[in-house]
């Protein structure tokens, strides 16, 4: 946990800097509207009072950090978990499709990587398509996937998970191709001197050698999955989920709701990446990794 302590000071200083900047911009951005309000109400207020007002608007252009914090706290801890205004509930909805899509994506990524490593023609035929697939803006593809799947009667969790899959298989494929090819020539020669079969070389050498690469790419993939799930909720008129909260907030100009949904999304992303990281470290330890 030394690395944690080493990071604590720099990370909190950056956080403090961001919060200060955030307040400054909240005041600046909310000033024009507050001035309008004051003019209409025919009131004039002193500087301190005016700044106080810019930081406590109900629908501010940029909500102040404490407004977001209060909203986040209320919607996370003070609401029943099954309420559709609860951030826990909405985060869970998004998380479940994230995890499903991430599982599919990881499995698909590994399968494609194994194919590419073993069949030379697959690399030449498949790789350009895989790369091209990631250059298409997901916002353009997501509605089509949802609509097409809805047309054949697939709705709910699966379409959102598909978008997560679409985003998350790519880093896993790239990482695993690299990982499965990572054994040194000497190790491959060694297997050759034992007259090992392809499958023996695969299971006893390539797979264990690829494990660190798998976890590194899974960290990227799980974050991409979350983005996919949120994006998948935007065009569907989904009733619940972080994406639905963002969309509803935008409809009703509930800027504070939008921001606290964003915070919830970030926390979920951080937790997911952390869990994958911890899993990776546990596996590394179990495989005799040298403690750092």
């Amino acid at each position: 946990m030394d690395s944690f302590r080493d990071k604590l000071v720099p990370v909190t200083s950056i956080l403090a800097g961001v919060v200060v900047l955030w307040y400054v911009f909240a005041v600046i951005l909310n000033t024009p509207f507050q001035r309008d309000l004051d003019t209409r109400a025919n009131t004039t207020s002193g500087t301190v009072e005016f700044i106080g007002k810019t930081l406590s608007q109900p629908k501010p252009t940029l909500p102040a950090p404490h407004q977001v914090a209060v909203n986040f706290f209320e919607n996370t801890f003070l609401r029943p978990i099954n309420s559709n205004r609860s951030l826990v509930y909405n985060a869970w909805v998004t998380l479940s499709s994230t995890l499903l899509g991430f599982t599919f994506g990881t499995a698909l990524g590994i399968v494609i990587a194994v194919g590419i490593v073993h069949v030379a023609t697959l690399e030449r035929s498949l790789m350009p398509w895989i790369i091209a697939s990631q250059t298409i803006p997901i916002l353009a593809v997501a509605p089509m996937i949802i609509v097409v799947l809805a047309a054949i009667g697939v709705t709910g969790l699966i379409p959102k998970a598909m978008i997560s899959t679409y985003l998350s298989f790519f880093p896993v494929t790239v990482g695993m191709v690299k990982g499965l090819r990572s054994p040194e020539l000497m190790h491959l020669d060694l297997m050759h001197t034992y007259n090992a079969s392809r499958s023996q070389t695969f299971w006893k050498l390539r797979v264990p050698a690829s494990v660190p690469f798998l976890f590194t790419s899974m960290k990227v993939a799980v974050a991409a999955s979350l983005v996919g799930a949120i994006v998948g909720e935007l065009p569907t008129g989904a009733v619940a989920g972080i994406g639905a909260k963002l969309l509803a907030g935008a409809y009703y100009s509930q800027s504070i709701d939008i921001w606290s949904a964003l915070v919830a999304g970030s926390i979920v992303a951080a937790l997911l990446v952390m869990v994958v990281g911890i899993a990776g470290r546990l596996v590394d330890r179990a495989m005799g990794g040298r403690p750092a």
Partner: protein, 263 residues
């Protein structure tokens, strides 16, 4: 000596040319060599003389482009498929995710030996290289010399009669190297294996070998073969004897003759 026992390795007019971007490189040219059972043959020469390439040809890790090679009376490929040799690389090349005993078990798993048989052989070979007690350690927990000993144990585990060693002690310091040289001789005496040993150290070659093959580069070829007159029993201080120094001088002459140091 080689005439009496069947040849373990027989090379005739062996040549290997690599096609590189800078044109063809003749790594081996016209190599004739017969190695008998129980011999300890060292290959010595400057870098680029093809000593490692020759070892890799014996191991069927490279295919010759001319001439013939037989190992145990078979083609090199058949010999490899029959697991006729154990190969020790320049680095220990242990799998970092396996403990020492699981590393030694690797070839045994591939050969499909039973768990009990594996355990018995692991115990025996680790004893042979003085690594008993380190079964459950991971490679990074061992020193470089111990790692290399573990890799020798791995090469011995499946009881091949031929041991091919490619500068196995090249990366180790001299004290460890002396120690391992001594142990290797004892191991050779006890197991009666045939050993092909690549090195660039003259004292190491003379100390270990029954025969020293001196090689020279451009093209890689055998420039001299020196029979050792040293007894099989060799304490470390044999290296101070006039006999030892005379052989070393001959090796040095052979290296000088085969190689122009001006270029």
């Amino acid at each position: 000596m080689t005439g009496m026992s069947p040849a373990v390795v027989a090379a005739s007019k062996l040549g290997l040319t690599f096609q590189t971007n800078d044109g063809p490189v003749q790594a081996l040219s016209n190599v004739d060599l017969t190695i008998g059972k129980g011999e300890f043959v060292s290959f010595i020469g400057p870098s680029g003389c093809g000593k490692t390439t020759l070892l890799r040809v014996i191991a069927d890790l490279e295919k010759p482009t001319s001439g013939t090679i037989s190992v145990n009376g078979m083609t090199a490929e058949q010999a490899r498929e029959k697991r006729a040799y154990g190969y020790v690389f320049q680095a220990a090349a242990l799998f970092p995710w396996r403990t020492i005993e699981r590393n030694v078990a690797l070839p045994l798993e591939i050969m499909g030996l039973s768990r009990a048989e594996q355990a018995e052989r692991i115990k025996r070979t680790l004893e042979l290289v003085n690594l008993s007690g380190f079964e459950k350690k991971y490679p990074w927990q061992l020193s470089g010399g111990m790692q290399q000993r573990a890799s020798i144990a791995r090469a011995l585990a499946f009881d091949a009669d031929l041991l091919l060693m490619d500068e196995p002690f090249g990366a180790l310091d001299e004290i460890v190297r002396d120690h391992l040289n001594e142990q290797l001789l004892q191991l050779w005496a006890r197991t009666n294996k045939t050993i092909c040993f690549v090195t660039h150290s003259i004292p190491e070659a003379v100390y270990l070998s029954t025969r020293i093959v001196v090689m020279s580069p451009r093209p890689g070829r055998v420039s001299d073969i020196i029979e050792s007159t040293l007894p099989r029993e060799r304490p470390l201080d044999i290296r101070e004897t006039p006999e030892f120094l005379a052989i070393a001088a001959r090796v040095r002459d052979g290296l000088r003759a085969g190689h122009s140091y001006d270029d």
